[in-house]
């Protein structure tokens, strides 16, 4: 066997929620038996954006906020890969918000794990777009990625997990990976993943999460209903988790994808195009 890099030990502070995310992702990939060589994890910039170094797969460190376009490019170019985008709430909801909206709309077959800690961990604790989740007044100022996803009608998979509820998280990640790998499209999983150093939200979220998976009235195939359910929970000052929405049209996956198309013996086809310019 050719030797290659040794996966790194996480560089996170002890207790960081991102450990939980990594563990769950690891389990989900194992459960689905995805080979590391077929897995490409692309990460944003942030503490969260180091997860790709630790799992022994192909790993890529994108620019801050650009993990989704990069992952989309990779997924479209080689649909045989299991493409996973990962990053923080700063990365995905602040600088990356436009791409998130357009990735919902474009619905490429990839999984996105957004580790929401309501702060910018790596740059030392500035407010992220979800920071207001934590303040008592003005909670509506917090951006909510799930509501955003619901508002884009082409979205097909929206879920939220909590780093401290690993069982559900693994389940959601397995479902997300299956959704993407089976070609249904973009699977978005936000994970509440506390930053113990700058914004320790464990106690808050322990108390506040409301599991819609447990709610018999919640129908994850009803977009307007899911929107209403989430709003209702949020208006109570709580955070909805679980599989929020699954549905929509299937993704268009190019097959076999440019990474596997042949390049030889095409001169005749090229000539046909060129001849179109003959005068």
């Amino acid at each position: 066997m050719t030797a290659t890099y040794t996966p790194r030990n996480p560089i996170w502070c002890a207790g960081c929620g991102h450990f939980g995310v990594q563990g769950a992702l690891h389990q989900a990939l194992a459960r689905l038996e995805v080979a590391p060589a077929d897995t490409l994890i692309l990460a944003g910039i942030g503490c969260s954006g180091t997860i790709q170094n630790n799992l022994g797969t192909y790993g890529y460190h994108a620019l801050h906020g650009r993990v989704l376009p990069t992952a989309t490019g990779a997924a479209l170019a080689d649909p045989s890969l299991t493409v996973i985008a990962a990053g923080g709430d700063g990365d995905g909801y602040a600088i990356g918000a436009g791409h998130l909206v357009h990735t919902f709309r474009r619905n490429p077959a990839l999984t996105y794990v957004l580790m929401n800690n309501a702060t910018y961990g790596l740059t030392k604790g500035q407010d992220s777009p979800t920071a207001a989740m934590v303040s008592t007044g003005g909670r509506e100022q917090a951006l909510d990625g799930i509501l955003l996803g619901l508002s884009v009608r082409a979205s097909t998979f929206l879920a939220r997990g909590f780093a401290r509820q690993p069982e559900q998280l693994v389940r959601l990640l397995v479902a997300a990976l299956e959704h993407a790998r089976s070609g249904r499209g973009f699977a978005f999983v936000e994970v509440l993943s506390p930053c113990v150093t700058y914004q320790d939200t464990y106690p808050l979220w322990d108390a506040e999460v409301t599991d819609l998976d447990d709610d018999p009235h919640h129908d994850p195939t009803d977009r307007a209903g899911a929107f209403a359910s989430c709003l209702r929970v949020m208006e109570q000052g709580r955070v909805p988790i679980g599989l929020i929405y699954r549905g929509g049209p299937a993704a268009h996956i190019p097959d076999p994808g440019p990474a596997h198309v042949g390049l030889s013996d095409l001169t005749a086809e090229y000539r046909e195009i060129m001849d179109g310019y003959e005068v």
Binding site: T4, L63, R66, P69, P258, A259
Partner: protein
């Protein structure tokens, strides 16, 4: 206009001008068919304001016995649909030129045409509306008068229009033919009978040729080079590349994405390139500014990527439909930090085709970003060129497959090598797992701030260019290699420069011309060109002298270079270049 005998032309420039929506382009496109049938080389240019209706627009067509690839000094035949056309283009008319003027709104405005210009005043629009119920038909009417001026037979003109409009609905075709005949009738009234106009066109034998724009040729080159992933965001004058890709790439298993913005475009291309696919994106100045972070990233993470910049006049939104070469400094120096990059610079459609192929191959071989710098004129103007050589071998470059990987004891994505290029295994290859990052990293791709590693990595990246410099595309040359006077320019300067060299030679003045096709890094041959001459005119479309300064930075003596610059949105004519060379020579 060169006149073979008293009335037969073998170098003719026709301009058709009016408000943006007037279909000036239709008239020159039809005229091109006439010239093409006679074996003329052709060059077609346009000048439109960046808005749909109401902007002043001109379509210009030059046909010539020699392959010119650019405009002449002046206009021989002007079809003017409004006063503004006469005001703007009148001063550029050739001696004894002809103006066909739309007199619907009044007589030709005075003071813009010299005495010797002959005017045919025709109320095109009025006739079109009165007799055919639509203003638009004035174009076909004008084409009728134009063919009469050139003594093209009515039958040929009609056949030409039928072919040109073959895709239009039958009703429209008929209406246009009626308009054409109305044009003939008007010419009859003026005594300009079928086949007996003031001018006559020469005819030559020619091999089959393409009529193609730089954008189209570049797109084809990318495809032929194995390019299979393209991302773009609409922007003038690069949008045609996106449209071309949407039309042709999918058939070859390729993917085209119209991104939500240029940030997405460049990063999607990077993501695709990561999987081993040959990827490209194209934009213009504002978009290129937005892509700078991505290009720096590709340079750092060592990702092959081709970025096309169809330059337009800046700064900021500038003059979107006008040519300029004012992003060159950004291409060479933009982006945060230092990273290897190459700037190729084609001067005509053939060159665009070839440089696209070269860019794909180089980016793949060196694992770094390669720019192709066009300008609006090279990008959008069409010219006749010989068919392209389609027999292009697509190399694997530095990518290892599973078998090659198995030969290695250890795979390090960023292995430090003598030529700076590391082995590369794409995702999906068993055992080739690697880390790719824009942070400084060790050979395994793991983030590192170790000073010794850092120094080695900077040197490795710099070596990629230094070691490859002899393999980068060389320039094209014209004129007398031993001449003491040089002309040096890229892009839209190439055609007038070439023609100026010929004219100067005819006048007994030896000049050598160089078009560097690798603009950055500046090649030794480029510096040598300047060193070998008493004086080199560096011709460029910008105010600060960006090419000039690149050459100086690379060691060309500033004292022996003279800047020949403009940035007013207009091109240099061959005559202007001749005049400036002569003026310097006389000093």
């Amino acid at each position: 206009m060169t006149v073979a005998d008293t009335r037969t032309l073998d170098d003719l420039t026709v301009a058709v001008s009016g408000q943006g929506g007037d279909g000036s382009l239709t008239v020159t496109t039809l005229a091109a068919r006439i010239l093409s049938a006679r074996g003329f080389h052709m060059y077609s240019a346009r000048s439109v304001a960046s808005r749909i209706k109401g902007g002043h627009a001109a379509a210009i067509l030059r046909g010539s016995r020699a392959d010119r690839g650019g405009l002449d000094d002046d206009i021989d035949l002007l079809v003017a649909f409004d006063d503004e056309a006469v005001e703007r283009i009148g001063p550029a008319m050739a001696p004894n030129g002809i103006v066909v003027f739309d007199a619907s709104a009044g007589p030709v405005p005075s003071g813009h045409l010299s005495e010797d210009v002959q005017v045919f005043a025709v109320p095109f629009a009025r006739l079109a509306v009165r007799d055919l119920r639509r203003d638009l038909y004035k174009n076909s009417l004008a084409f009728g008068v134009l063919t009469r001026v050139l003594s093209v037979g009515d039958a040929e003109a009609e056949a030409c229009m039928d072919e040109g409009f073959a895709r239009l609905p039958a009703l429209l075709r008929q209406a246009n033919r009626a308009a054409l005949r109305r044009g003939f009738a008007f010419a009859d009234e003026q005594g300009m009978l079928d086949g007996e106009g003031p001018w006559r066109l020469a005819a030559f034998d020619v091999a089959p040729r393409l009529m193609i724009s730089g954008n189209e040729a570049l797109a084809l080159g990318f495809l032929v080079a194995g390019g299979r992933f393209f991302t773009g965001y609409p922007i003038t004058p690069a949008s045609e590349i996106l449209a071309w890709m949407e039309r042709h790439l999918p058939r070859f298993g390729g993917v085209v994405v119209q991104a939500e913005d240029e940030l997405a475009a460049v990063n999607m291309a990077i993501g695709a390139a990561l999987t081993g696919v040959r990827a490209m994106t194209a934009t213009s100045g504002p978009g290129l500014s937005l892509m700078q972070e991505g290009v720096s990233h590709a340079g750092s993470a060592e990702i092959p990527l081709v970025i096309v910049d169809c330059q337009r006049a800046g700064p900021s939104t500038g003059m979107p439909t006008k040519p300029e070469q004012s992003d060159l400094s950004m291409l060479a120096h933009g982006g945060n930090g230092e990273f290897p990059r190459i700037v190729l610079s084609p001067g005509d459609p053939t060159d665009c085709y070839e440089m696209a192929i070269a860019a794909v191959a180089i980016s793949r071989r060196l694992q770094c970003p390669v720019y192709i710098a066009l300008d609006q004129a090279v990008a959008q103007h069409s010219a006749t060129v010989a068919p392209f050589d389609l027999d292009v071998a697509v190399e694997q470059g530095s990518v290892l497959d599973a078998a090659a990987l198995a030969e290695l004891a250890e795979y390090r994505r960023y292995l430090i090598t003598p030529d700076g290029v590391s082995p590369w295994v794409v995702p999906g290859t068993p055992g080739g797992m690697s880390l790719v990052t824009g942070n400084e990293r060790n050979e395994w791709g793991q983030v590192s701030i170790d000073p010794a590693n850092r120094t080695a990595m900077i040197a490795k990246r710099a070596r990629k260019i230094a070691r490859a410099i002899d393999t980068l595309p060389l320039g094209r040359r014209w004129g007398d290699p031993g001449a003491a006077v040089g002309l040096l320019g890229v892009g839209l300067e190439v055609a007038p420069m070439r023609e100026a060299v010929e004219r100067l030679a005819a006048a007994g003045i030896a000049v050598a011309a160089l078009q560097p096709r690798t603009l950055w890094p500046v090649l030794p041959e480029t510096v040598a060109f300047v060193n070998e001459r008493r004086v080199t005119h560096v011709v460029e479309h910008n105010d600060e002298g960006q090419v000039f300064h690149m050459l100086a930075e690379a060691g060309a003596p500033a004292g022996s270079m003279i800047g020949m610059r403009r940035s007013d949105g207009l091109v240099f004519t061959p005559g202007e270049i001749v005049d400036r060379v002569l003026a310097e020579a006389r000093r």
